[in-house]
């Protein structure tokens, strides 16, 4: 556990104790409600995690690297944004990977597109998002995020 997670655990436990002291009945009622809500999500979250495992096996970071570094910047940007939407690789793998590419002279535009869609667009988490917030919300948010990821990437290409 990193320091941030530990801090969050501490804050959460502290607040829960305060809540219990302040209003025991209300807190237990809230626990019951949250348990129901999160219980419904848990199965899907576990399913999603195993999908991530599959995706990582069939689209390993090396493949992504070759996509990011391909010659045609325009095509590479689009494909990189797509790759970022599908995969969910940990940030501590993604940054060194992209960093090593940029260092050897690859264009930063596909790199930024990839980094941004990696976290903001989630094709894998889409079913859960759709179930919890509705199709219209999930679709709008993910499509907009994809579009803006490309805008951010192109803008960075101009600025840097």
């Amino acid at each position: 556990m990193d320091i941030f997670t530990i801090v969050f655990w501490t804050i959460a436990i502290l607040l829960t104790v305060i809540s219990l002291i302040k209003d025991k009945k209300k807190t237990f009622a809230a626990m019951k409600k949250s348990k129901g809500m999160m219980g419904n999500m848990l199965g899907e979250i576990i399913a999603i995690i195993f999908i991530i495992g599959l995706v990582l096996t069939f689209i390993p970071p090396e493949t992504i690297k070759s996509v990011l570094g391909s010659a045609n910047t325009f095509v590479a940007t689009f494909v990189s944004a797509l790759a970022g939407s599908i995969t969910l690789i940990p940030a501590f793998v993604a940054f060194p990977l992209v960093g090593s590419l940029v260092k050897v002279g690859a264009s930063i535009v596909p790199a930024v597109a990839f980094l941004t869609t990696l976290t903001m667009v989630g094709i894998v988490t889409f079913p859960l998002e759709k179930k919890e917030f509705g199709t219209k919300f999930a679709l709008t948010r993910n499509v907009l995020s994809f579009g803006f990821a490309i805008v951010i990437a192109l803008t960075m290409g101009v600025i840097l």
């Binding site: 302040k22 409600k33 495992g53 940054f95 960093g99 509705g134 948010r141 960075m156 600025i159």
Partner: protein, 243 residues
């Protein structure tokens, strides 16, 4: 029949299990590698989800609805957007961890725009991640990407707020509503507005509920409007909690 409904309810899990079985028969190595890859995320989930659970409990139990509405509601304005950005940025864990918290906030009156900001900031902006980015790609790169991302998040929030309305969200988010008007039935006669202007208003030729009723006398008045409504469009859920 029971099995069918069980599968229908857990479609995703069965689909994933089926995929794993298929991969296992074709290429056991790949299946094992996939399981191994998943373990990292499972550990992350175990570390983060209990905290998220506690936070949703605390929000539900401790934070009054008015506070959420003031902080993150439709009328919270730019200050609400900044607050949402801050909340999303100081968070921990992957984007799915933001779903329960966002849902709890939505149920307590947060606006859709602010939920988009929380979800997006939760996904992209994290202090340990920013440090990592600066280390591998340079401070300039990190700062420029951060600024552009924040701008994009705000623009996205406004666009989503315009496209998606609360009625587009799943029903269970709205079911705590005590009093509601079925838009499809309302004929816009304005009778309820005349009877109780404090609780109803006309909106695009349809009546709308503007306040959650509380107290016995008020409920009686509401009940009267329910009965008088010529198209029976007003629904009063007495069982729903006002909180």
């Amino acid at each position: 029949m029971k099995i069918v409904s069980l599968i229908k309810k857990n479609k995703l899990i069965f689909l994933v299990a089926l995929t794993y079985i298929t991969v296992l028969t074709i290429s056991p190595d790949k299946a094992m590698a996939s399981v191994k890859n998943s373990v990292y995320y499972l550990i992350e989930m175990v570390q983060v989800l209990p905290v998220i659970f506690l936070f949703t409990v605390v929000i539900e139990a401790l934070v009054p609805k008015e506070m959420i509405m003031r902080g993150f509601g439709e009328k919270s304005g730019f200050k609400g957007n900044l607050l949402a950005l801050l909340l999303g940025s100081i968070s921990a864990g992957p984007i799915y961890a933001a779903f329960p918290i966002s849902k709890t906030l939505l149920g307590k009156g947060a606006s859709i725009s602010n939920i988009v900001i929380i979800l997006s900031a939760w996904a992209v902006i994290k202090v340990p991640m920013l440090a990592n980015e600066a280390k591998f790609l340079g401070v300039n790169f990190m700062i420029v990407r951060w600024v552009l991302t924040v701008i994009a998040i705000f623009v996205m929030a406004y666009i989503t707020g315009m496209i998606v309305k609360k009625k587009d969200l799943p029903i269970d988010l709205n079911k705590t509503k005590m009093l509601e008007i079925k838009d499809d039935y309302c004929i816009g006669c304005g009778l309820c507005v005349k009877m109780l202007p404090e609780y109803y208003e006309m909106n695009n030729d349809k009546a709308a509920v503007i306040k959650t009723p509380e107290g016995k006398e008020v409920l009686q008045g509401i009940q009267e409007t329910v009965e008088k409504c010529p198209s029976k469009a007003i629904i009063l859920n007495k069982g729903a909690q006002a909180s």
